[in-house]
Amino acid sequence: MSDAERSEEPRLKRIPFTHQDHKTLLAMCNAMRVAAAANVVATLINTFVSMQSENAGGMVGVLIQAAFAALLFTSASHFQKVAETDDDDQRHVAEGLEQLRVLFLLKGALVIVGITLAVLIVPIMIVAGALGAFAAAS
């Protein structure tokens, strides 16, 4: 079957998940929401602390955590519809996984940026330290 034919196939309204699978989905949705909500609470408190010390880095962390929370909540709502309705299961599964894709992509991007900075900063610090020691000795 060609990609064009596969793109035009009708989506499944109902994926015949078992009752146990539905329970698993709902439990996963609840865990995602708890994780998102708890992270938002921790982030809001840390925002307050950052504002007291005028720490700009804290504000960036807030925005990132807010984005993660939004993605988790949206993904959870799609998966909940898969468990509780038989309207458009396939679309909700695809949309839920798409939200998770963006979430893990953002986390991956942050990891890559962090590793890159660490790899760049360590040699710079070593060179700066050596130059400082040389300047102090002379």
């Binding site: 998102a36 708890a38 992270n39 921790a42 602390v49 798409e98 991956g108």
Partner: protein, 163 residues
Amino acid sequence: MTEPLARIPFSPKDEGRIDSASRWMRFIAVVQIIGSVIGLVGLVVLGTVFSLFGSLLFAKLREAASQSGADVHFEADLIAPLGVVLIVVGIISMITLGVQLWASMMLYRAGDNFAQVAATDVADQDFLADGFSNLKTYFYVEALFAVLAALNAVIGLVGMGAV
């Protein structure tokens, strides 16, 4: 009982997105696994070093205290409480890292399951169900750590207010 679907007619675009999601899940899982393993190895090394050289350090401190004439009950006032604190912190850290390692392995398995959904048409529904089950475990652990982080933030805030 309905047979599980061998193929769910995801569009090529959706399959591409599911495949991408699986790759990012496995990437994050690998990073977390490496971090957890490094942490566990580091804890073991620290514990070993402390047990080998800690008694030597305390002997030197005791000698310095007795020479200075200070009235310090080293064993009762310093060594015993410090030792208990270090052991408790070490145990909690190892449990935390172990749980994080296990959750990361669940995330990796979920990524594997979703990759099978995108790449094959043999058992899409079963792979989806297994993927959701593994994701559920991962998010349970994430929720636990997030709640502990929130409690920590609240305690810190209360402490700030008290100061």
